[in-house]
Subunit: 318 residues, 2 copies
Amino acid sequence: MVENRIIKLINEAERIAILPHVSADGDALGSSLALAIALRTMDKVVTVYLEEEIPSIYSFLPGRESAQVYGEKPDKYELVLALDTGDLERLGRRIAIFEEADKTVNIDHHTTNTEFARLNLVKVSSSAVGEIIYQLIKMMGIALDKDMATCLYVAIATDTGGFRYSNTTPITHQISADLINNGVDVANISQLVFETTSLPKVKLMGKAIDNMELLENGKLAFIYITDEMLKSIGAVEEDCDGLVNIGRNIEGVEVSILIRQRGDDEYKINFRSKSYVDVSSIANRHSGGGHVRAAGCTVKGDINEIKNALIKEIREVL
Amino acid sequence: MVENRIIKLINEAERIAILPHVSADGDALGSSLALAIALRTMDKVVTVYLEEEIPSIYSFLPGRESAQVYGEKPDKYELVLALDTGDLERLGRRIAIFEEADKTVNIDHHTTNTEFARLNLVKVSSSAVGEIIYQLIKMMGIALDKDMATCLYVAIATDTGGFRYSNTTPITHQISADLINNGVDVANISQLVFETTSLPKVKLMGKAIDNMELLENGKLAFIYITDEMLKSIGAVEEDCDGLVNIGRNIEGVEVSILIRQRGDDEYKINFRSKSYVDVSSIANRHSGGGHVRAAGCTVKGDINEIKNALIKEIREVL
């Protein structure tokens, strides 16, 4: 069992580095910090190396004292664990730490994982790497505490969209039950992680709603976002994330399209569908790609022509 | 144990009526339908009597064939179970069924429950009545199926705000694990229950965001909704529910206030706070009430004077 071999490597090592993926999200950060806290109870010297600062939304996570943004190349580590990292590129500049280590471990749940380490624990049925780390901590006989539980809860809750995505399993809930038993403050963390929004993001939602068009008897929603809109309210590119869902979530809408104008004639297009339209096939026609219910492409040209072409293509499948 | 006495009454009865509270929500409906499905597997004659039609958001719930809106007074039932109902008033017109029954049972989780039935099972530590019904079904030795599991999952997920409120316990998650094991389609139900919005509601959110004012260095949010706004977009009163949270959820905001103008000089005011301001004490000063983090009042007079008075009162506690 690869878990036992990983635990043996951990037991034998003194200096251990943990590497979440670049642009670390709740699962990458929560899993890494939980593991760091756990390994410190075993008197290991543990550092979580990050590519960037911890996003402010996760600044409440315990265990941050074990984490630092990668700067100069540190001394060699005996053991390096990459967490939630599908391939080596997702380690960014920190690949230097990974490549210099004596022993390397890759713990992940992405189906696309390239098994790039000496030992690879890739469990695609796990909703989050947080689930895998929970099980490892249990197998190592380390007693969970509130800090570890909080980090693992954030990992699992964020990667399941708050227990809403299809990756949510009975195991996800069983583990969460145990984490809450160990002191997680569910209401407070949910407020911090799921309900807090920046002012520019809220204003951008307002703009998106105001200019949303419903076509084809309310089955098709178009949202249009320009550089000027972002500038006028101090919003940044990542504030556009999820805006396309405002249209998709409206009763009766099957396809929602977000057109993000960039510069003079380039448009980034996001597609979402609710239950039967395959938007990836539409994105494919415009040299894009994605999944059946979520896809995207980037096109150039006149926006009205682009829009009319899209309406025509979607009308055929609505 | 009162559970055993309730099970004995169920075993002895042939005709059973189940009564969720008026304006039945996800927990009241989900619990009632799950229990009806379970009792039908025991060949009982079971009817769920509703005060109103099932809201469209819950129209997907299994077991609706056991439910009907109360019309003429039905024949006498041997056993009537009131679910999620804090007091007799919450039965509305259906109190007639309750009062005529030979045996009555009250299954609830509200701290304010008045224990109005012959047998009362009030478990205030349960996040939802769905948890209590789950346990009863297990105790009766009935095998869960996908339909019961779906109803109970909706009951629990809605009453915990999607596992986000402080009433979410380890038991909540353990039960949810078992429900998912019995076939709940988590992603589909989450989409239907949590993510679907009506077009007027979305437009009203846009209006609320557009006219939101941030005062006191971004710590105080004001949202103003008028009759005309609702009319212009075809929104109804219940579309105002939750709008106050748009302000509360913004980073840095401590107090959010929704002013709902009604008629010429009446204003319904909703208060929310994030972490330290006691808004119930402010609502109390205006003959309102509520909780520390959520309160409300209704005032008459000039809106600018009202607003200035509120700003002054809140400034003192920010």
